[in-house]
């Protein structure tokens, strides 16, 4: 039976998008569980930030085997930026790493992100969405910094959930 390429690709694409939307939904379902278990004295934002820290710590571990200092600092930082942008892409976003304005600086730009849409469904405040992403990336860097004996920082300059049209994060080396 000949392969109908259009049909095969559509089937694959649909399943990929379903799986991607489940990533955000699963996170927010667990957020509800955690809020209920933690009780009224704990702020949902604190729970979300704690989750971002725990997830970031684990994701950082995955980065270590793949990063390599041999090709020099500039390539190292670009690869790290690409790996961070790659997290968004896996989740269904559109993101890329770009050279910054100064040496030792990389921008991570995300022009399409699935999280705010999912957050709306679960009534999550938009500022929480932005702060969670920033904290996730910051914690990913913690192990990377210790491992390579460097001091990299990441800062959020723009965020889609803040109505700024895109995410823009600056990855830079603190002297």
């Amino acid at each position: 039976m000949p392969v109908n390429a259009e049909k095969e690709i559509t089937k694959l694409w649909r399943n990929l998008h379903n799986a991607q939307s489940e990533i955000c939904k699963t996170f927010y379902r667990w957020r509800e569980v955690a809020i209920e278990v933690a009780g009224p004295d704990v702020k949902p934002l604190d729970i979300a930030l704690k989750a971002a820290e725990m997830m970031g710590k684990d994701m950082g571990k995955n980065f270590l085997p793949r990063l390599n200092w041999l090709k020099g600092e500039e390539t190292f930082m670009m690869n790290l930026g690409r790996a961070l942008a790659g997290i968004w892409v896996t989740e269904g976003g559109t993101a890329m790493a770009e050279k910054g304005e100064n040496p030792g600086e990389i921008f991570i730009r995300c022009t399409r992100c699935p999280w705010p849409t999912a957050a709306k469904e679960f009534g999550v405040p938009m500022e929480e969405v932005a702060l969670t992403r920033e904290r996730l990336f910051q914690t990913i860097l913690e192990d990377v910094n210790v491992f390579f004996n460097i001091n990299l920082k990441i800062e959020m300059l723009k965020a889609i959930p803040r109505g700024e049209g895109e995410y823009l994060l600056k990855l830079y080396k603190e002297e």
Binding site: M1, E8, K11, N68
Partner: protein, 660 residues
């Protein structure tokens, strides 16, 4: 006058004439070592989980002691802290209390029983440690690169001093147990190397900073251990000559040589030259690395220090170390895996029996098992780690039988010599004109697979010495079995290769063995069907000829039958050679110039190809019925039973050889 422990005279042995530099004495500290051979410390995971020595470990060591023919025989590194942070392996021997001395003495006695020199090793596993506890200790809190290892925490200044003392106390116990040489293990990412390396040591106290500071713990250990050992027990250290950690800012080669000089200054009587860490991204000892590749490092070490230099690392035959000793580039030949594979390897060299050596094939299964908490096993040597077990020792057969073995591949050959040694009359039949079976072709795959043939060469010698009779160019049929009516038939016929539907008459569908042997014509765009080792081997073989190769196979990951300590190399080679692998997939259709691949979950897509190479295999049912119908005792072994790897063939053959 240097101390002599046992008198050895090698002058009448052929090996001493062939390799005169390996069988001449050398002074190490105040000890005279009669030859240049050392069984290097080898963790075997054979001891009990509280660190006490077992019968299995004593027997394992005794056979290696016999092998070094008077040379140095080192036991595995012991851990030295009660908390177990320094313990890297569940069956690692311990030495943090006097209660361990009695067991350790059994090892020293076993080594002395073979007139060999007993070596003790102190090994806090550092970053590779804490196997049974939550976290490990190190100079600084540097996260682990590999998830299988435990998180690390920085030792306080007092804890570093305590660790130094633990080395000294353990050395004292080693001396009490009767060991003759003391060694500190500072290799492959264990604690001493963690202190020495700029990658893992970020301390600001006296145990960190520049290379001298990073070596301070090592210096205190060497000095403390020397003090308890006295003048007659040499103290050596294993140290990285190159860490191969440039990608994570490890020591430079110059810094590594500085560590050698510092160790010598501190009083070390010899240095064992090592390289690489478990965490290095460069391969060091797998089969794809040519033998003798690293000898230049021993030479460089010798240019930097005056004390004797020892080295192992892919030195599997005596010629290269003999020459290196003659050229002044090495003092002592260390051996690890070659003596896991054949405990008597150097003894056979000395006795002129090199053709009887079962060579290590550098697959690293032994290492992979350690990290999975399993006792030592050797891919190629079924007796390894069973030296104490009567059931693994060939004994004369109760009833002598006439045995027909069908197939002269590694399974059949292994079974043949073992059965013949036990007194059976053994006949091996093969349709080919020589021994080796499918391995003859499979060993043509790149990245060192030609070394696999050493297995068959060994088996052939053993068969000839045991009086096995060969019947080549002789395809066994039902009639032949009915005519011969042997007491036992062993089917070692190798696998059969499944047929893709409607491909019987096509010349663009070929067999893996025909491709490797050059019998089959292969186009420029190739699909290899099967993603186990045979598929990977032939894919790389073809990709190296410039062909575009795609692997399609049913296993979830390509090369799942290759152990993890070697598989990562193959994954890199597939990538480097542009080989794409579709795993968890099968070939659904064969069209002209393309195949249709179907994924496990039903997606379908075309892949262009001029030729399909079949490397999938199935069990071989042929001849079974007639043997059973005639009421003859039957055994099926190797790939004929279940297609697996060379190791399974050898182990099957050995076990059945013992059982008949």
């Amino acid at each position: 006058m240097a101390k002599v422990l046992f008198e050895w005279d090698y002058s009448s042995y052929p090996g001493a004439k062939a390799y005169p530099n390996l069988f001449k004495p050398i002074q190490m500290g105040n000890l005279m070592v009669p030859n240049r051979i050392k069984y290097a410390a080898t963790e075997d995971n054979l001891n009990d989980h509280n660190g006490f020595i077992t019968d299995a470990d004593v027997a394992y060591m005794r056979s290696r002691a016999e092998g070094v023919v008077g040379g140095l025989c080192f036991m595995q590194g012991v851990y030295m802290d009660e908390a177990g942070k320094g313990q890297g392996y569940v069956g690692q021997a311990a030495c943090w209390d006097d209660k361990y001395v009695e067991g350790l003495k059994r090892i020293a006695d076993a080594i002395h029983g073979e007139k060999a020199i007993a070596g003790f090793q102190l090994m806090d596993c550092g970053r590779v440690g804490a196997v049974e506890v939550e976290s490990g200790h190190g100079p600084s809190t540097v996260p682990q690169r590999l998830r299988i290892f435990k998180p690390m925490y920085e030792m306080t200044n007092a804890e570093v001093k305590e660790m130094v003392q633990q080395h000294v106390d353990a050395a004292k116990r080693g001396v009490e147990a009767g060991f003759d040489v003391m060694e500190i293990s500072g290799i492959v990412g264990y604690l001493i190397s963690n202190f020495v390396s700029s990658y893992t040591n970020r301390r600001t106290d006296e145990y960190g900073g520049d290379i001298r500071g990073r070596c301070q713990a090592m210096v205190e250990i060497i000095q403390g251990v020397k003090e308890v050992c006295g003048p007659d027990i040499p103290v050596g250290i294993r140290l990285c000559s190159e860490e191969l950690l440039n990608d994570v800012k490890g020591n430079t080669p110059e810094e590594s040589m500085e560590t050698y000089k510092i160790a010598e200054e501190a009083g070390a009587d010899y240095i064992s030259c090592t390289l690489g860490w478990q965490e290095s991204i460069f391969p060091v000892i797998s089969r794809d690395i040519p033998q003798g590749n690293w000898l230049y490092l021993a030479k460089r070490a010798k240019e930097n220090v005056k004390i004797p230099i020892q080295m192992a690392y892919r030195l599997f035959t005596p010629d290269k170390p003999d020459k290196a000793v003659a050229d002044g580039g090495l003092d002592i030949w260390e051996i690890c895996r070659s003596m896991i594979a054949d405990p008597l390897m150097p003894k056979k060299v000395l006795e002129g029996r090199e053709d009887e050596i079962r060579h290590c094939v550098a697959c690293n299964l032994c290492l992979a098992r350690l990290f999975r908490d399993a006792p030592m096993t050797c891919y190629i040597n079924p007796r390894c780690a069973h030296e104490h077990d009567e059931n693994f020792t060939p004994k004369p057969a109760e009833e002598e039988k006439e045995i027909m073995i069908v197939g002269a591949g590694p399974a059949g050959m292994e079974c043949a010599y073992v059965a013949a040694q036990r007194g059976h009359e053994v006949h091996v039949y093969d349709k080919r004109g020589e021994v080796g079976g499918t391995l003859l072709d499979a060993s043509r795959a790149p990245y060192g697979d030609e070394e696999l043939m050493t297995c068959v060469n060994y088996q052939k010698t053993m068969c000839e010495k045991a009086g096995v009779q060969f019947h080549f160019n002789n395809e066994v049929t039902d009639e032949l079995i009915a005519d011969e009516m042997p007491d036992t038939v062993v089917l070692a016929t190798g696998p059969v290769y499944p047929v893709i539907e409607d491909s019987e008459d096509r010349d663009d569908v070929v067999n893996v063995l025909d491709v490797l042997s050059g019998k089959a014509q292969v186009g420029e765009t190739v699909v290899v069907w099967g993603n186990r080792k045979p598929g990977i081997g032939v894919a790389l073989f073809l990709a190296k000829q410039g062909k575009k190769v795609t692997i399609v196979g049913k296993e979830k990951s390509a090369g799942f039958d290759i152990n993890p300590s070697f598989k990562w190399r193959y994954m890199i080679y597939l990538k480097q050679n542009g080989v794409m692998a579709y795993n968890d997939c099968d070939i659904e259709e064969l069209n002209d110039g393309e195949i249709i691949v179907k994924t496990y979950d039903g997606y379908r897509f075309p892949v262009k190809c001029d030729t399909v190479v079949v490397s999938e295999r199935e069990a071989n049912e042929s001849l079974k019925k007639i043997v059973q119908a005639e009421g003859i005792e039957l055994f099926v072994i190797g790939d004929a039973l279940v297609p697996r790897n060379l190791s399974s063939a050898v182990h099957d053959g050995y076990r059945i050889g013992l059982r008949i």
